[in-house]
């Protein structure tokens, strides 16, 4: 944490840690609560970190996007990043992505937490891909505590599958889901941490 005022360093490192794992821009309010500091302090930390990354000519930057802070690749290295992303870009959905898409399609509206509960693993990354591709979108918020964002399929998804309405999906008739799955879908288990 060289280049940062002594008194900011520990908090700045904690902020870095959180931004490292975040998949969406994190609002300063959320960070303030996590770090148990005033929002102004978060803004100060963010600005100091952003400046130090810039001064250090790091490959990433701390950006203020969509009402939150985000760690992102520095535009100076866009070329490398693009080649990396496009080389790795799949030409079709992974089985995990297709499963997540199917869960959303049949159980919409559904929260991130519910999807994770059904799949048994964190589905954030996969969900991001689906949102990015325009197959899935936020359609509302849950009434429960935390007001989790609920996701549903898009018109684009229906169009790609050649369907008019979600109801035209082939029925899951005669199919008994897992007890754990039913439970997962019935309860909103925890607040969805997303912004």
């Amino acid at each position: 944490m060289s280049g940062l005022p002594e008194d900011l360093r520990a908090e700045a490192a904690a902020l870095e840690a959180v931004l490292t794992v975040a998949t969406e821009p994190v609002p300063p309010g959320v960070l303030a609560e996590l770090l148990e500091v005033p929002v102004e302090r978060v803004e100060q930390l963010g600005a100091a970190l952003a400046a130090s990354y810039e001064a250090d000519e790091r490959g990433f930057q701390l950006a203020r996007v969509a009402g939150g802070f985000r760690l992102q690749s520095h535009p100076a290295y866009q070329g490398y990043v693009e080649r990396f992303v496009f080389d790795e870009a799949p030409s079709k959905l992974s089985p995990a992505a297709l499963e997540t898409l199917a869960i959303v399609a049949y159980k919409q509206p559904i929260s991130r937490a519910q999807i994770a509960a059904v799949r048994g693993v964190n589905a954030d990354g996969v969900l991001r891909v689906l949102v990015q591709r325009g197959y899935v979108e936020p359609v509302g918020r849950d009434d429960g505590p935390g007001q989790a964002v609920l996701f549903g399929t898009t018109a684009e998804f229906l169009e790609r599958l050649g369907l008019d309405r979600v109801e035209d999906l082939p029925p899951l008739e005669g199919f008994v889901p897992d007890v754990a799955t039913v439970e997962a879908l019935e309860h909103v288990l925890r607040p969805d941490g997303g912004p």
Binding site: V81, L93, E99, T100, A102, A180
Partner: protein, 268 residues
């Protein structure tokens, strides 16, 4: 989170024996065998369903321990069969090797758990590229049909496998005690003096041999046969005592068959 894998804590018999030995920290000479047997029985009782595989392994281990203890308690004789002696040593070495291997992997498992715990303190970055990088306009759903989406949904929502130990194959040959008893009653009057080995020579499975033995015990109880065994593990002679005609029916064996049919079978 409702999703949890329902794991029965299922230790192998070697793990249980190891636990018994290390927990008691005593030597076989001092420990009462009933303590070990009680330990095994308690372990078996703790398991909800009868597991033949585990029970058999337990039995084998218990038998070996009993044998070892007997050897220790009885003064050694010169008449000990060398083959028997070697077999016992082999059984003992086998047990020892298994216990050592078991302990090795138990320790390894502890270290894996510790590694996992340490690694779990860090969280990987999984955010992926941001929107400044628009992905190439490839239709990822090309060729995907609604039917495939349904199949994926079924797969994702399907019951997860619950850990279960399959014992189906163990139950495959059901031997009717009744039939074996009747068969012996037909056969023995004509045989005169015969041996257990001869009677079971054509037995297709171990279960048939066991059934034959139990049926002989029952016949012995009814005083229809005489049994003679001169040496340990020696030949078991069987002599029919019931006269020329076979008895009317082996109703005594119904108890056995009832037992056999009422024992928990595999869920097929």
């Amino acid at each position: 989170m409702p999703y949890e894998v329902h794991l029965d804590v299922f230790d192998g018999p070697f793990a249980v024996l190891l636990e018994l030995i290390t927990a008691q920290r005593v030597d076989l000479y001092e420990v009462r065998l009933t303590d070990i047997v009680d330990g095994f029985l308690a372990e078996l009782a703790r398991r909800e369903a009868l597991d033949l595989e585990a029970a058999t392994e337990f039995l084998l281990i218990a038998a070996t321990l009993v044998e070892l203890k007997c050897r220790r308690l009885l003064p050694g004789g010169d008449d000990v069969d060398l083959d028997e002696e070697l077999a016992l040593f082999e059984a003992r070495d086998y047990l020892l090797a298994r216990l050592v291997e078991c302990k090795t992997f138990q320790s390894a498992a502890e270290v894996l758990a510790a590694l996992e715990q340490a690694a779990a303190r860090s969280f990987p970055r999984r955010s992926g590229p941001d929107e400044r990088l628009s992905p190439p306009a490839v239709d990822l759903l090309a060729g995907v049909t609604a039917e495939q989406v349904r199949a994926a949904a079924r797969k994702a929502l399907a019951p997860r496998p619950v850990e279960r130990v399959a014992v189906g194959h163990v139950h495959d040959d059901v031997v009717s005690m009744h039939a074996v008893y009747d068969e012996l009653c037909r056969r023995l009057p004509g045989e005169g003096r015969t041996s257990f080995a001869a009677l079971t020579a054509g037995a297709p499975t171990t279960a048939h041999v066991v059934a034959c033995f139990l049926a002989l015990l029952e016949l012995y109880k009814q005083e229809l046969v005489e049994l003679e065994q001169l040496t340990t593990f020696g030949e078991l002679a069987v002599v029919w005592q019931g006269g020329a005609a076979a008895p009317a029916g082996g109703t005594a064996m119904d108890d056995y068959d009832e037992l056999a049919t009422s024992s928990p079978g595999p869920g097929r």
